[in-house]
């Protein structure tokens, strides 16, 4: 027997995995470490051997300087960080709203199937399209919102031009697909809710909110967990809506870390600085993912 014949069964899985692992190493793992390496340098993205107009080299080791500047000398960094926190907290609102919608459409009424698909529709549309639609909606001169407010005699609110409101305006736009997604999660979850338990609850006199809180929701826990994870990851990577709706403005007040990273590295030729922001964002996500995995394993263990 040749070596191959003897070990075929043991080797086959690795061989099948090899292409995927190789691509993962090249396109995911290597760039992560490369970004961290770049973040310790000052680099304008040009030839690493060359020099700048002012005589400094294009690529220069600066140690932790990028991080020090970020934390001590860049107001915009804190604005972006704070906006990320706002995104994290407020985009979670999509979950209860999605649950409400799911309960609403989960009735046996003629034509409900079509209504369901209508509610799901926003999730299918591209984020850029949603951004453009909401930009028109918010347009303080010709937008639908200004028209509705005008009907009640209220002056138009320039959501996207106000430094305090812009981020909320974009988060509300993100609800549009976010709610649709959580709704679908809950609809599938609701099909798994046991009839017997609801009957039992009813016999014990539970109805309305008590029924929802004590009988239905605990059974929807897996759906809730996924909804939270997906929403938070979505909030941390929010970028497309911001780019389309405000381009980070007015004067940078709706920037988040991902957008600032893009702006600094691609437009301001500060690759090292952009990489430092990316590293911070990576660490924030890491902490969250670690917490999430911990929760997941703990749950699985307790279920066993």
């Amino acid at each position: 027997m040749t070596f191959w014949e003897r070990n075929q069964l043991r080797l086959a899985p690795f061989l099948f995995l090899a292409p995927a692992i190789l691509i993962f190493l090249i396109y995911v793992i290597y760039p992560i470490f490369d970004s961290i390496w770049v973040s310790f340098h000052e680099w304008n993205g040009m030839d690493k051997e060359g020099t700048r107009g002012n005589g400094n080299p294009n690529w220069r080791w600066v140690g932790l300087n990028n991080y020090i500047t970020l934390f001590t000398d860049d107001e915009e960094f804190y604005v972006s960080l704070f906006n990320n926190v706002r995104w994290l907290i407020f985009s979670l609102l999509a979950i209860p709203i999605g649950l409400m919608l799911a309960l609403f459409v989960n009735q046996k009424i003629l034509g409900m199937r079509y209504i369901k698909s209508l509610f799901y529709f926003p999730f299918v549309i591209n984020a850029v399209v949603i951004g453009v639609i909401f930009t028109w909606f918010y347009n303080p001169k010709y937008g639908a919102l200004a028209y509705v407010l005008g009907f009640f005699g209220i002056d138009p609110v320039p959501f996207l031009a106000d430094e305090n409101l812009a981020t909320y305006g974009i988060i509300i736009a993100s609800f549009f697909p976010g709610i649709a997604y959580t709704m679908i999660l809950y609809i599938t979850g609701l099909t798994g809710v046991s009839r017997e338990m609801i009957e039992a609850g009813r016999i014990d006199g539970a109805s309305g909110f008590t029924m929802l809180w004590n009988v239905v929701l605990p059974q929807l826990k897996p759906a809730t967990l996924i909804a939270i994870v997906v929403t938070i990851v979505g909030a941390l990577r929010s970028f497309d809506l911001i780019a389309v709706m405000t381009a980070g403005g007015p004067w940078g007040s709706s920037e988040v870390l991902a957008y600032k990273m893009y702006q600094e590295s691609l437009f301001n030729y500060r690759m090292g600085y952009g990489a430092a922001i990316a590293t911070i964002l990576f660490l924030i996500m890491d902490i969250y993912i670690a917490w999430f995995l911990y929760r997941l394993f703990k749950n699985e263990r307790s279920e066993k």
């Binding site: 060359g50 107009g53 320039p158 007015p250």
Partner: protein, 406 residues
């Protein structure tokens, strides 16, 4: 066999020496592409020995792509922009000195008006192919209804604004969502108050943003901001969004570049529109205009420099130069090119010919990093003018980081 190999070697080497000229272009719009193709075809007809290969890029994507292809796989000719945008690559030694093309093709004479924006340390690093004017595009019908005349100086300009405002018309439309439109206002106010040299020193990072001479620029700007002469909520609008009030007849004036004209034509209001030069503010300050110039360069890594120089020198061909600029909606920098026929271009050409100096535009003259931060500051100032001191202190800090202490 050996014979065959030598034959192949001979053959391939002749192909290379016969001259394949690789040109990277950002002329991706329908009319821009047709205009550039016309130039390439004319060049092919005049130089049948050169095989021209054009790689076309989407206009915005080109801005990031150029950094890669100049270092990795350089073409023989690259289209780009004059001013600081060019200087960035000159400093990186990525563009070649083409002063000899200027001298040999007589460009020093025919292109004299734009020579400055292509010169670094006395050498030319590219050849311009088109430029366009900035100025105030206004609704002549609204002016006529109210009996207003074109303002010549700052007092008249403010008076016109006041009259328009009083009659329920937004005097000035602007959309600052993408910031650069605010840069245009700063350019003109500062050029008219402090003059060209000071403005260039500022864009080069040689002047503090807290310099007292800038007080007057911001003060003049405030004279328009405080009475509410600019379109309300302009931070929510892109430059295209801001066209709507003017096309609907709700706003009267728009400080913008000549690329606005095709929109006016397709919206059917071009007959109601006219153009005037940005008014004088301080008497005796030389007249400088923003006229962004689009250019061609030879990368340092070019393989076929000889033919690339022919391609650049071909701009001295009056007919080819005329067609490229005209078809692309631009003015030709070649002074022997045929005069434009579109009335806005005619006015622009006259205005620029009479100008003492030509600036490129805020975000083409200033370092990209500084330009972005400054335009954000300008936008903030236009909405919250009370923050002037804070904004200028922030910009000065940024300037010091980028250009070093004064």
């Amino acid at each position: 066999m050996k014979k065959l190999i030598t034959l192949i070697v001979l053959f391939t080497s002749t192909v290379v020496s016969a001259g394949t000229l690789v040109v990277n272009s950002n002329q991706s719009g329908e009319s821009s592409k047709a205009a550039f193709d016309a130039y390439v075809d004319a060049f092919r007809a005049a130089h049948p020995e050169v095989t021209v290969v054009v790689n076309e890029f989407e206009h915005e994507a080109y801005k990031t792509a150029i950094r890669n292809f100049l270092t990795a796989e350089a073409p023989d000719v690259a289209i780009w922009f004059a001013g600081n945008r060019m200087k960035f690559f000159v400093d990186q030694n990525l563009f070649q000195d083409v002063s000899d093309v200027w001298a040999d093709a007589g460009l020093n004479d025919s292109m004299a008006s734009t020579k400055g924006s292509l010169t670094v340390d006395g050498k030319q690093y590219g050849v311009p192919w088109g430029y366009y004017q900035w100025g105030v595009y206004y609704r002549k019908d609204l002016f006529d209804n109210l009996g207003l005349n074109v303002p010549k100086d700052w007092e008249e300009f403010k008076w016109v604004c006041a009259m328009l405002k009083k009659n329920g018309i937004t005097p000035i439309t602007i959309g600052t969502k993408y910031l650069w439109t605010a840069g245009g206002w700063f350019d003109y106010l500062n050029l008219r108050i402090n003059g060209y040299q000071f403005h260039m020193d500022l864009t080069a990072g040689k002047v503090s943003y807290e310099d007292p001479r800038l007080d007057a620029t911001f003060a003049a700007w405030r004279e328009l901001i405080d009475p509410g002469y600019f379109l309300e909520d302009h931070a929510s609008f892109s430059w295209q969004d801001a066209q709507a009030p003017q096309i609907n007849g709700e706003a009267a004036m728009y400080l913008i570049g000549n690329f606005y004209v095709p929109t006016l034509e397709s919206a059917g209001v071009v007959d109601k529109m006219d153009f005037f030069q940005f008014p004088t503010i301080v008497e005796g300050v030389g007249v400088a205009e923003d006229a962004p110039t689009d250019t061609m360069h030879i990368p340092s890594g070019a393989k076929n420099v000889e033919d690339a120089k022919k391609f650049l020198a071909f701009m001295s061909n009056k007919e080819a130069a005329t067609n490229w600029a005209k078809m692309g909606g631009m003015l030709s920098p070649n002074k022997y090119a045929d005069k434009p026929t579109n009335r806005f271009s005619v006015m622009g050409a006259e205005m620029l010919a009479a100008a003492d100096d030509i600036a490129q535009f805020w975000d083409r003259d200033a370092n990209p990093d500084m330009a972005g931060a400054a335009m954000e500051g300008f936008q903030e100032f236009m909405v919250k003018p009370d923050r002037e001191a804070k904004i200028r202190a922030r910009l000065e800090k940024e300037r010091e980081r980028i250009h070093g202490p004064l």
